[in-house]
């Protein structure tokens, strides 16, 4: 760890490091990694996978979160640490000292992200946003775009926020809460709260132990912090996940003595439950044993699925099998969501399935294409995929998805809520053949009732019907029974 003198260097705006060898990277970790180096080690591993060649150390960086923590906690120490941080910027191109005041475009384009390092022995890694590693190119990841200014050079990175706990003021639950919160902030869903404000949002009276030094947060306190930050969380206990038609409920697994293992060892429904939110860009906090970590994505590996995890003790972008993890069995999921989203993902998907199958019910004389869709959905040849989208994103992304022109026009002109649950029916054969896979779509109003969510539009072969608000007349658009492209993130394609 850098000494106080090495940390201060009052005469320098910053300095370049050009790590070439393993030893150079190890030196960086030795300088900044503190007492628990694994998070920074993982950060450097991701950077190296992305071809990092230059590290620029921005000196005397005043980080809003670290300052808030310093004021609330570290400044009260008789021997207080240095109150400012170093912000490390990473580039895949070589950067020269003479370029720093005006970085060329190719250097700016090679920006891989930043990490704020603080002089805190057990929690040096602060706010960090770096690009996902290249080997996760096919994953669905809840990335957000962050903009930073380095000496007036505007730099952009798309990644997932990460930070480490410090074991005294902020522990794993605070770090996990912050990762979810900063993602929501960068998406424009909530105003920014500092890490100290989030910490102070946890009601001390919900714990028997005093708040400081922190002995952790319980689930009720975590829910209180999510609520105060404007994103109350949907809660799932792994021991009782909801069933959704079309999603397999696996048979229980037993231990060698015949006792049924906790569901955290085998219930594969966790992938679909969390996946719908991850597809929507919302990270999921996990209570894993007595530790909190954050699911930020998922990826398909052969026939199996893996989560992409940010674990404050292990670093960002870890690929994890939830049934073979150092903290298996996990016990609960918490999904912080906009408060006006009252309908949960599985409610929308269940209701969409019901609507599509009802539309194709033969005894009511449905069109042959609707009957065929109903049968394919029942047989698993068609599967449902679900994503929450903002009204704006939905309408913007509709263009270019090969929807019939009139349907596109009417859907764009439709008066929709701020968010919509989009449930698409994907034809697996079309997917395999590389053709447009979507054969039906149901949109739901997420502000309606969770048990019986209101559809606002249904598109089935040959027909799109839109239901305007305020008792308006249904608008019907008829066309050819052709499929269109999906609005799901690219990694969803090919997933069962």
């Amino acid at each position: 760890m850098l000494s106080r003198e090495q940390w201060l260097r009052p005469d320098d705006p910053g300095w370049l490091r050009q790590p070439r060898s393993e030893r150079d990277w190890d030196q960086l970790i030795a300088d900044y990694g503190g007492g628990h180096t694994e998070p920074l080690r993982r950060i450097t591993e991701v950077l190296r996978k992305n071809g990092a060649r230059t590290v620029y150390v921005e000196n005397r960086y005043i980080d809003l979160d670290y300052r808030s923590e310093f004021s609330a906690f570290w400044s009260k120490r008789f021997e207080a640490p240095v109150p400012h941080a170093h912000r490390l910027h990473f580039f895949s191109r070589r950067v020269e000292e003479a370029q720093l005041h005006n970085l060329p475009k190719q250097v700016r384009d090679s920006y891989l992200g930043y990490s704020v390092l603080r002089p805190i022995k057990w929690g040096p890694v602060g706010r960090t946003v770096i690009r996902p590693p290249r080997d996760l190119a096919t994953a669905v990841i809840t990335t957000v775009r962050d903009e930073v200014s380095l000496f007036g050079n505007r730099l952009e990175v798309e990644g997932v926020p990460f930070r480490q706990q410090d074991t005294e003021y902020l522990i794993c639950a605070h770090a996990a809460l912050w990762m979810c919160h900063y993602t929501a902030y960068l998406r424009g869903l909530v105003p920014r709260r500092t890490s100290a404000e989030l910490t102070q949002d946890a009601p001390a009276t919900l714990s028997r132990y005093r708040a400081l030094p922190s002995e952790g947060l319980n689930l009720l306190q975590i829910q209180a912090v999510f609520g105060a930050a404007g994103q109350p969380a949907i809660f799932y206990g792994i021991e009782q996940l909801p069933d959704v038609p079309g999603v397999e409920t696996p048979p229980p697994r037993s231990d060698p003595r015949g006792g049924v293992l906790p569901r955290g060892f085998w219930d594969t429904r966790i992938f679909s439950i969390a996946g719908r939110y991850l597809n929507s860009g919302f990270p999921v906090l996990v209570a894993a044993d007595e530790h909190a970590l954050v699911l930020v994505g998922w990826i398909r590996r052969g026939r199996d699925y893996r989560f992409i995890v940010c674990d404050d003790q292990e670093g960002p972008y870890r690929e994890v099998d939830p049934f073979d993890h150092y903290l298996t069995p996990w016990s609960a999921l918490m999904v912080p969501m906009p408060p006006r989203v009252l309908v949960a993902a599985e409610s929308a998907e269940t209701r969409a399935g019901l609507a599509i199958r009802t539309a194709g019910a033969a005894k009511a004389g449905a069109l042959p294409q609707w009957q065929a869709l109903r049968e394919a959905l029942a047989a698993g040849r068609v599967v449902l995929k679900t994503r929450l989208m903002s009204n704006h994103d939905y309408k913007a992304e509709l263009a270019g998805k090969t929807r019939p022109t009139d349907a596109l026009r009417e859907l764009r002109l439709a008066r929709l809520p701020r968010f919509v649950w989009v449930v698409e029916a994907h034809d697996k054969a079309a997917l395999t053949a590389g053709r447009a896979p979507v054969c039906a779509e149901v949109l739901f109003d997420p502000t309606s009732e969770d048990r019986t969510p209101n559809p606002v539009s249904i598109s089935i072969p040959r027909l799109t019907t839109i239901l305007p608000p305020d008792g308006g007349s249904p608008l019907r658009v008829e066309g050819r029974p052709r499929r269109w492209q999906t609005l799901m993130p690219p990694g969803v394609l090919g997933a069962a």
Binding site: L220, E290, A364, R480
Partner: protein, 73 residues
């Protein structure tokens, strides 16, 4: 009164017969009140969806019973 639009530009070769007014009204009803039409499903399908809805309710109730004081650190 529902507004209806046909889309000749997208109907391509061989225009399909228009969808009957009965069917269109059925889809309207589906949007207004899905449950009203669920009687047209088979008994097995109705049971499947009823059980799914019950399991969502059960999951919410289980969440309330989950150990809230589980400490994460």
């Amino acid at each position: 009164m529902a507004k209806r639009k046909r889309q000749p530009s997208d109907s391509g070769q061989g225009e399909a017969a228009p969808i009957s007014e009965d069917q269109l009204e059925r889809i309207d009803t589906l949007l207004y009140d899905t449950d009203r039409l669920s009687g047209s499903l088979s008994a097995a399908e109705r049971r499947e969806y009823r059980e799914a809805e019950e399991s969502i309710t059960a999951a919410r109730r289980h969440a309330e019973r989950h150990e809230g004081f589980l400490k994460l650190y």
